[in-house]
């Protein structure tokens, strides 16, 4: 902060143009560092946009985008006629809404609880253990889930030995849904906590001290200081989450799904995989992807608009 102030004092009296180059030169290293993520975004996020034209072509993999025939909106028409597309769309929304309801508050609560832990070492240890699942591949998690929750899995053997009836966690629709959401929360909770804990660290300590003087209980402090302190973080994350409503990761539904619950587990990403990669129909896959992005953007803008109307900070 101090350095920035110094910089600005130096610049007084210089023209804008000069200051710009001066800044670049002064922080050259920082800009070079910035270049890397920018390149990443340019190559992996912007360059592929070019491929969107496939959605308007009868794409022939051997002719490429330059040689394929243009078909206008035919591909979209074909997709919107398919029942399986609507099912995938519906499932994506349902799974994401449930994920949001169950998965969004979880890290906030956990972060606040962790924040109250006094023993620093215990806090760190808990945090580490909790976010470990985030680094596990879904394939491995899927294997663990199968071993634990299948009809002949650990949990059911245990229930059986108690004389209780089995629960078909993975092969009945509703139990599968619960398993799917719960496992998702378990995997993500620790990771999500990090951001909130960071936000909590930013809250002015004096506020807590003052409330101590006033004789506030712990719960009151959580409610009146911690939560409002991280409100803007919660807001931004919520808006972003809503923007991602129509997109869904591929691994989790693919690994955890099976034919018995396909009516719930078939989502947009697995649909794209099936028509795009398995059936080699790249036009359809691209069109679905484009559709997904457009709806996502609309939701994001909508959520941001509403947040601003409610007097909160939006993301722009």
């Amino acid at each position: 902060m101090k350095a920035v102030l110094n910089n600005q004092q130096d610049q007084i009296g210089l023209t804008r143009r000069h200051t710009f180059w001066l800044r670049i030169r002064r922080d050259a290293l920082l800009y070079i560092l910035l270049l890397l993520p920018l390149l990443y975004i340019a190559i992996f996020k912007y360059a592929p946009i070019y491929g969107l034209i496939m959605a308007f072509q009868d794409y022939n993999i051997f002719q490429g985008t330059s040689g394929s025939e243009w078909v206008g909106l035919d591909v979209f028409r074909f997709i919107f006629q398919q029942d399986s597309f609507y099912r995938a769309l519906k499932n994506t929304l349902v799974l994401n809404v449930l994920d949001l309801v169950a998965g969004f508050p979880a890290p906030i609560i956990l972060a606040i609880l962790l924040n109250e832990v006094r023993m620093a070492r215990f806090k760190k240890l808990t945090q580490t253990i909790l976010y470990l699942p985030h680094f596990m591949s879904w394939v491995i998690i899927g294997g663990i889930v199968y071993l634990m929750f299948s009809n002949s899995g650990m949990v059911n053997l245990f229930l059986d030995s108690l004389g209780l009836s089995k629960i078909e966690f993975l092969s009945q629709k509703t139990p599968w849904l619960v398993t799917y959401i719960t496992v998702g929360v378990w995997q993500n909770i620790g990771w999500g906590t990090i951001i909130y804990l960071a936000a909590i660290t930013g809250i002015n300590k004096e506020l807590y001290e003052a409330s101590d003087m006033d004789g506030c209980s712990r719960l009151r402090k959580m409610w009146h200081i911690t939560l409002p302190g991280i409100k803007s973080t919660i807001n931004i994350l919520l808006i972003l989450q809503i923007g991602r409503m129509v997109s869904i990761g591929f691994d989790r539904p693919f690994v955890m799904g099976n034919s018995l619950v396909s009516e719930y587990s078939d989502v947009i990403s697995t649909f794209v995989y099936r028509v795009g990669i398995s059936s080699g129909d790249f036009s359809q896959a691209t069109a679905v992807g484009l559709f997904q992005s457009v709806v996502g953007l609309t939701l994001l803008i909508g959520a941001n608009y509403i947040a601003k109307k409610l007097g909160e900070d939006g993301i722009w």
Binding site: F20, L39, A47, D83, L170
Partner: protein
């Protein structure tokens, strides 16, 4: 004041950066466009470079060849082992070429191939069992037509495969792929624990009802005294495990045309077949978690741990190394025998067998080595070469007895990753020593690795599983609807099987009708109609 100024600077900064970004995006677009053009120029240049005579001093050409990665335990590097060295020594050197193998996971062959083809990076010789996929590539004009190349460089290959086999690789009368020759036509087999039957004093079942009683006895009396007996083991539909010819045994009378063109779901009696399976599942006679077993790992483990009374899979499945070896270790008393138990109303054991074609090899247009590729396949058709690739070295991989090689299993770099190395010998599937009986014997001896019991099992299984066999009708003309909807329908097919078997008994009928309607609406109807049309044309032309 100061703060405002800073904002302005940042904004100009953003403008500049976004200008840079925009140009990067444009550049990327141009580069991608160039990529497309580049592909075309490659295509036109390809024949030239391959026609040019190669003098020995030229740097060796690199021929890439697909190979399946089956993830066999202890397998060597698929591109550097005993077999690849042989190929490079005997084919590579004389032709000034280096043959390089590109592994593709067996269970994802189509997905991977789609990606490789779209990226223009498919191996010079690629292959797939999916005939529709080949047709689709050919239709998009992505494959070399091989008629001339076969004429000039593939005479030995042509003679070996013969007109009948080659016909399966034609599209619009042009040779677009080279089908392997399948010497053994059996497809599925069913196997039952003989030692359990003996313990219970029961005979081999000869029809459905007898099998049902046997399975119930397995469940209730647990003759093997194992923890968690599974009377009938299977896995999610679409992998190695099947229901044998059970479904066929329920089919009623049909005309030839109906039999060929009607989707199985609409055939008379088909519903009863699944109802029967549904009943078995609900009576806990079938693996409880089979639909979750997407990789067949669970079913394999159950079989090899000696928990399973009956199962259906490829006719040679019990002999494959991954089943045979662990079973011998875990449950040495287990004795599986092949059984024929699904008799239809006419008293026949109707079952599907293969057509005489194997895997389809093709040369993508992106390849620069079409000529070399055909030469390679042609070289492989040399009986001596083929024998070596299938049976290896005498004294190492086999011993000869009455002219029939008796297999010796190997580990490490000398091991065969697939039965008789079929992944390295794409022009043949099954033993090739002249006549069928000898081929079966040879195949059995090679796989059994000297175990007489397994040799008998193989011989018997082959006999049973070619009895009352029918093979799928070969139209010879592509079905456009199938190209479009085939994969979706195939996926639906698998889901339907699993869901129907696991359904509650009371919901079965409604579910069957609902799923079949969905199937027909999703393209099943279009495929059927085109099948009928094609069938009528083809049979009319024959007359």
């Amino acid at each position: 004041m100061i703060r405002d100024e800073r904002v302005v600077y940042v904004k100009t900064g953003i403008k500049k950066i976004s200008a840079v970004l925009c140009s990067t995006v444009l550049l990327a677009g141009v580069a991608a466009g160039c990529g497309g053009n580049d592909k075309e120029s490659k295509e036109t240049a390809a024949p030239e470079s391959s026609n040019a005579a190669k003098s020995p001093s030229d740097p060796p050409a690199k021929l890439t060849v697909e190979v399946f990665d089956r993830g066999v335990q202890g397998q060597p590097d698929l591109n550097n082992n005993f077999w690849t060295k042989y190929v490079n020594e005997h084919f590579g050197k004389p032709n000034n070429a280096i043959v390089e193998y590109v592994p593709v996971p067996r269970s994802q062959e189509v997905d991977k191939l789609n990606v490789l083809m779209a990226a223009g990076q498919a191996p010079d010789i690629s292959f797939t069992y999916d005939g529709t996929l080949v047709t689709r590539f050919a239709k998009s004009d992505g494959l070399y037509t091989l008629d001339e190349l076969l004429e000039s460089h593939g005479q030995q290959l042509k003679a070996y495969l013969g007109e009948n086999v080659l016909a399966y690789g034609k599209y619009n009368d042009k040779q677009v792929s080279i089908p392997g020759k399948r010497t053994l036509l059996a497809w599925n087999g069913m196997f039952i624990r003989k030692d359990w039957l003996d313990k219970l004093g029961m005979p081999l079942p000869t029809n459905r009802d007898e099998l049902y009683n046997t399975l119930v006895a397995f469940r209730d009396k647990n003759p093997g005294n194992v923890n968690g007996v599974i009377p009938w083991a299977t896995a999610a539909a679409g992998m190695n495990y099947t229901f044998g010819n059970l479904v066929q045994s329920f089919w009623g009378q049909m005309s030839e045309e109906e039999f060929v063109t009607t989707p199985n779901w609409l055939k008379p009696g088909n519903k009863d077949a699944y109802k029967w399976l549904n009943k078995l599942y609900n009576e806990k006679l079938i693996s409880p978690d089979f639909a979750l077993d997407k990789t067949t790992k669970q079913a394999d483990a159950d079989v090899t741990n000696g928990k399973v009374g009956f199962y259906a899979a490829n006719w040679d499945y019990p002999m494959t190394q991954k089943i045979r070896e662990p079973l011998k270790q875990n449950s040495p008393d287990a004795h599986y025998v092949p059984v024929d138990t699904f008799k239809n109303a006419e008293g026949k054991y109707l079952k599907e067998v293969y057509n005489e074609n194997g895997i389809f090899s093709f040369i993508p247009k992106s390849s620069k080595n079409a000529e070399l590729a055909v030469k390679y396949l042609n070289w492989m058709a040399d009986p001596e070469v083929m024998f070596f690739l299938q049976f290896g070295e005498e004294g190492v991989h086999h011993t000869l007895k009455d002219g029939i090689p008796q297999g010796i299993s190997q580990t490490g770099e000398k091991m065969q990753m697939s039965n008789l190395n079929m992944d390295y010998t794409m022009i043949v599937n099954g033993a090739e020593l002249g006549d069928t009986e000898k081929n079966v014997k040879t195949y059995a001896a090679a796989l059994a690795s000297g175990d007489k019991q397994y040799e008998e099992l193989a011989m018997e299984s082959y006999k049973i599983n070619t009895t009352d066999g029918y093979s799928s009708f070969y139209y010879g003309v592509p079905n456009e609807s199938n190209i479009k909807y085939g994969k979706t329908l195939g996926d639906m097919n698998k889901q339907m099987i699993d869901r129907l078997i696991v359904a509650k008994e009371s919901e079965f009928d409604a579910l069957y009708d609902k799923l079949v309607k969905e199937y027909m609406d999703a393209g099943g109807k279009a495929v059927q109609e085109e099948n009928v049309k094609n069938y009528r044309e083809v049979t009319a032309n024959k007359k």
